[in-house]
Symmetry: C2
Subunit: 220 residues, 2 copies
């Protein structure tokens, strides 16, 4: 049954789902929404995702939203395609450490990186500069947390252990956006994080997945 | 091997992990940290969790942090104890919908409820009132998102489907805190959310898990 991905070129959450699909070698039929025209708030789309956000995956009559849930679904369902992106659930400690890393990404990284990127993008489109007092608390927390993540990466090659996993892919879209909007130092001034980034961003599936977003933001 | 839970009575994240352990009928040996005395930032504790946060679970030489990862570990490892708290991973669509619901909890609820509760608690300890302009954006988003969650609960009894699961437990600590700090309306003025709350908060494991926190915050 063919998989469709409803998304938007400008959306890093769409990028997260698209990347996971491409890591599994899946062909992605993507239906692009015009977010500026609020197409994601139209009734027919709200029937797919009541929160009115992208991305949404459909497969026949099955509908799934939230980019990380989509990535997990693809990794489980197509586990036989390519290398595994998620540990075997029979190994309770490996999967526990995968879940620990997945939770860190959301609670210690995304929670602070997402508002920072959003503020920067909105300000640029308005030709303004974000007031420093709105940015500093986010940057302070990110600096503390990325130091800890850098130390974790001094002991293991990837976010959830020795092998590339979905969790690496969970981080990549927002880290890419931080680079785009001028926070290169957050990543490139940390030895292990820089090395990790150089490794994961060379993955062919990532390069293909990020292309549409790069074309859009190439003036940044 | 005996499980230890490093936590704090005042911590809703500790409550989340304690609750999952009790749902599985596990005896919880809890080591309470004094967060005011910054015990969670001491080197011996940072060796358990470099982010310096509670809770942490240890089982022999195995260490795990992030409350949701702890809950998932317990649910997988002790899946044979009591009713399952997580769908069978062989059923890729059920587990996908579980992951969708788990992601909604973090990105559409916790992300906004946590700063709201934190601001209210800090203000109360300082004998102040939180400025309205700090609260309103959080409340507006929570109202929109809880309306959507209320509609989801009009079609299914629990957050991830027809049965109680870990995701219900993920929501409960912060919802309980919202009730404590004066936002009863957020939950009790929504028909399906109110009904869900009345059902899940009657669970014996929850009642036992929440007791220490209630004793602490009984003046709220």
């Amino acid at each position: 049954m063919s998989i469709k991905l409803y998304g938007a070129v400008s959306s890093w959450n769409t990028l997260r789902a698209r990347h996971a699909l491409l890591e599994k070698g899946m062909t992605v039929e993507e239906i692009s929404l015009n977010l500026s025209a609020q197409e994601q708030k139209r009734p027919d789309y709200l029937a797919l995702n009541p929160f009115g956000k992208v991305p949404v995956l459909t497969e026949g009559d099955f509908t799934l939203f939230e980019s990380r849930a989509i990535a997990r679904y693809v990794a489980w369902k197509y586990s036989s395609l390519g290398k595994p992106l998620i540990p075997d659930v029979e190994n309770s400690r490996s999967i526990a450490l995968f879940e620990e890393a997945a939770s860190i990404e959301l609670t210690q990284f995304d929670h602070f990186a997402q508002p920072l990127v959003l503020k920067e993008i909105i300000a640029r489109f308005q030709g303004k500069v974000v007031p420093e007092d709105e940015i500093l608390p986010l940057l302070q927390t990110l600096n503390v947390n990325l130091d800890i993540i850098d130390r974790i990466l001094s002991k293991q090659s990837f976010m959830a252990g020795r092998q590339y996993s979905l969790v690496d892919g969970f981080y990549m879209p927002l880290l890419h956006m931080l680079l785009k909007v001028g926070y290169q130092g957050l990543i490139l001034e940390r030895k292990h994080l820089k090395h990790w980034w150089e490794t994961v961003s060379e993955r062919p599936a990532w390069k293909e997945a990020v292309q549409p977003l790069n074309n859009l933001y190439d003036t940044f």
